[in-house]
């Protein structure tokens, strides 16, 4: 969400203000015209809704990534069961777990950076309290640390896969993920 109202929206509001009979009729009233207050109120609803939409967007990114990771885990386990080399798939799984910790890949990080650049901090108070890294929406600092550690542990198994260890690490990832998205 950007700090500035879009030019199109601003134009619409001004047109509304200039053409409103209510404004013309209240030349002795020094208060903010009711129509403008109503328009701003409506805009506030939109802004707040967009913030909620942002949360849903990031939640979708996480859900998609988690589903992708689950499927990749399945492919890894199938290969391991068949005695095949699963190194590449394990690294792919590590990539996806990293992306869970990062709320998406580097391209998403660039968008997050752009939002911060524009002055938007989804969890401004959480950032001040040290709970969230700058611009993060759902993944807390502690969860990020844990997920990146899990990603590293999984990637290390690419050279020497171990079904039990992989299962345990994935269990930690899944628990972390579910904890983050619960209530959404």
């Amino acid at each position: 969400m950007k700090r500035h109202i879009s030019p199109a929206l601003l134009t619409m509001i001004l047109m509304l203000a200039l053409t409103s009979p209510g404004i013309l009729a209240t030349e002795h009233d020094t208060g903010t015209p009711a129509e403008l207050v109503a328009a701003y109120d409506s805009l506030a609803d939109s802004i707040l809704a967009v913030k909620q939409t942002e949360r849903h967007m990031v939640q979708s990114i996480l859900a998609t990534t988690f589903s992708h990771a689950q499927a990749t885990l399945g492919a890894v386990q199938k290969k391991m069961a068949g005695g095949e080399n699963a190194g590449a798939e394990i690294e792919k799984l590590a990539d996806l777990v990293s992306q869970l910790g990062n709320e998406g890949d580097a391209a998403v990080a660039a968008i997050r950076k752009r939002l911060v650049e524009g002055g938007h901090h989804h969890n401004a108070q959480g950032e001040k309290d040290g709970i969230y890294d700058e611009g993060f929406v759902i993944v807390t600092r502690a969860a990020r640390k844990a997920l990146l550690a899990s990603a590293g542990n999984i990637a290390r198994m690419a050279a020497s896969p171990n079904a039990e260890k992989l299962k345990a690490e994935w269990s930690a990832v899944a628990t972390q993920y579910k904890s983050l998205v619960k209530g959404d």
Partner: protein, 590 residues
């Protein structure tokens, strides 16, 4: 070497009495006797001799108030032997002086030829390497056209410069012809063989996407701790997308960022770059220090393809999973376990990070337990190197410091200054570092806003000296007069057409252990260290074996080498292995 020694005479002897002993592709050049060994506190002693050595070019840095980050980002420095006389020459990158929106002076880069007596002569004009009036940022040195002469790539805010060494003491700028002018805010660069075809490809990091008009119009608009207005960014500004260029082997480069897997999707604010093999698979990987973003570790997958694996390999963020403000980068075996470790320098009120490598491409942030974190927390750090300054056999950590906001000086309550002392962290063994800067002589008491740092033995006395660039001031040249142990310096030579030494790994075996170094085209903060590889040997009188693993897979070895020498290891033409599409690991050692 103690202060007061006759370094001029010694230096003259060192370089002038080569005794060539060609053995299996190696040549031994005898030099002076080794320095006496020494142990105990206070053995470090550094003196700033830049002025008396003749390195006096003022380095400009925008406006005094540092209204834009370009004003305070600074420049790199390089050690190189441009005329191949065996002596180490110096190259200083320069920027512009501004006043408000006015360009007061376009700084000139400087090339200093080493006279061999501890002094330098400015040969910039004759060599034609003044920088064409560009705003220079960094420097990289490599023989990109394989003609046997080191060339200079100067990265710029604007079009880059590629100074091709003509071999007659002059250079020509061929960046346009080579296809790598790439105008932008270019910063760190690495020339290295990315695809195993034996020519040098190019990775270019970029910082912020902005125009000169924006730089000139900039005014401090960011509140620093609520007490002063300072330059905005990097947040608030768009990151520049890094680029990668493949060489066609005939002096021309083609951009191949996407096909190589090096798309900078995160638009990280890139600074320091190094190409080095981080997972011991024989291929050169890329590591990029990003300011305020996760660092990149591009693992070389072979055939010119890379994969970014930093987040799960452990070297992209700190131990808490947080991105830091990466500026410079150093590499080396900090803890003596035989594996390459990484160092990234960061912003003030954050620590320089030491990542311990396991040799398999995984890293762990050991800044706290190593002592590096505590020693570096208040400094704003840039150039860095892991080098053995006391020749005791382990790598010490040197860091150039300086804040980006002059405004901090008006607020001493925060415990920071704009000009800062540089740091010498002594390796006390096993990668445990102790800050000995206060006991390291007057050179480490100098306070400047330092940026680039290059290590090199310019006076050929067997210990490592330090060249450091400073904002709005001449560079610092810290002569190493420490009481040091024995040493061996390996000089790699590749005949014209014989490929590159960039990426060559040199290892020496002594007393049951192995020390190793790798040749790069640059690292630190946009800077280039001595291309000769220095080994501190402690009390050892020599080494059992010296081995060079050349980038094409061939190997040159020499056994039983005395200490206190410059040993030239020459790659012979017959060592060359026929080209292969991805031949990095295809050569069988002879």
């Amino acid at each position: 070497m103690t202060e007061g020694s006759d370094r001029s005479a010694l230096s003259g002897r060192l370089r002038r009495a080569p005794a060539l002993l060609a053995l299996g592709g190696a040549c031994l050049i005898s030099h002076a006797a080794p320095a006496a060994g020494g142990t105990g506190a206070g053995r470090f002693h550094f003196v700033d001799v830049a002025a008396e050595a003749g390195i006096d070019r003022q380095v400009h840095a925008g406006r005094p108030g540092k209204d834009h980050l370009l004003d305070s980002a600074g420049n790199g420095v390089a050690w190189l032997d441009y005329d191949r006389d065996g002596r180490l020459d110096a190259y200083i990158v320069n920027a512009w002086k501004l006043a408000g929106s006015e360009i007061v002076e376009r700084g000139r880069n400087a090339l200093y030829r080493n006279r061999g007596d501890g002094t330098f002569v400015d040969v910039t004009d004759g060599a034609r390497v003044a920088g064409e009036g560009r705003w220079g940022t960094g420097v990289t040195v490599a023989d990109y056209d394989d003609d046997g002469w080191p060339d200079i790539l100067v990265t710029s805010f604007g079009p880059n410069l590629l100074y091709r060494n003509r071999g007659d003491g002059t250079f020509e700028n061929v960046a346009d012809r080579a296809g790598i002018e790439a105008p932008a805010w270019n910063t760190g660069a690495a020339l290295f063989d990315a695809d195993g075809d034996r020519d040098l490809d190019l990775y270019l990091a970029r910082y912020i996407d902005c125009t000169l008009e924006e730089v000139l119009a900039a005014r401090p608009t960011l509140s620093w701790k609520g007490v002063a207005m300072v330059a905005e960014g990097p947040f608030g500004l768009v990151g520049g997308a890094d680029r990668f260029y493949l060489s066609d082997g005939d002096g021309h480069f083609e951009e191949a960022t996407g096909p190589a897997g090096l798309l900078d999707k995160g638009l990280g604010y890139g600074f320091g770059v190094v190409a080095v093999d981080l997972n011991a698979d024989g291929r050169l990987d890329l590591y990029v220090a990003n300011d305020s973003d996760a660092n990149y570790y591009y693992r070389n997958e072979g055939s010119g393809r890379f994969r970014e694996v930093g987040l799960w390999s452990g070297n992209a963020v700190d131990r808490d999973g947080a991105a830091q403000a990466g500026m410079g980068v150093a590499f080396g075996d900090a803890d003596g376990d035989g594996q390459i470790d990484l160092v990234t320098t960061n912003f003030a009120e954050d620590f320089t990070t030491l990542y311990r490598g396991d040799g398999k491409g995984f890293f762990e942030d050991v800044s706290d337990m190593s002592g590096v974190g505590k020693a570096t927390f208040m400094s704003l750090s840039w150039g860095t190197v892991l080098a053995d300054l006391d020749n005791d056999g382990d790598l010490d950590l040197i860091i150039a410091n300086g804040h980006i906001y002059p405004q901090v000086d008006a607020h001493p309550e925060f415990g920071m200054t704009y000009r800062q002392r540089n740091l010498l962290l002594e390796n006390r063994g096993g990668g445990r570092f102790v800050d000995v800067s206060q006991q390291a002589g007057p050179g480490f008491l100098v306070a400047q806003s330092s940026r680039g740092l290059a290590a090199g033995d310019y006076d050929d006395d067997g210990d490592v000296d330090l060249l450091i660039s400073n904002l709005d001031a001449p560079p610092t040249l810290l002569r190493n007069d420490s009481t040091a142990g024995n040493w061996l310096t390996v000089v790699l030579e590749v005949p014209p057409g014989g490929g590159t030494a960039i990426g060559a790994r040199v290892s020496v075996a002594l007393q049951g252990r192995t020390l190793a170094r790798t040749v790069t085209s640059g690292d630190s903060f946009l800077s280039v260290h001595d291309p000769r590889l220095h080994f501190g040997l402690g009390t050892a009188r020599g080494v059992d074996r010296v081995r060079v693993d050349w980038p094409d897979g061939s190997v040159t070895e020499r056994i039983s080498v005395e200490a206190g020498r410059f040993l030239t290891m020459r790659k012979l033409r017959e060592d060359k292995i026929p080209p292969a599409p991805d031949a990095v690991n295809s050569g069988d050692p002879p």
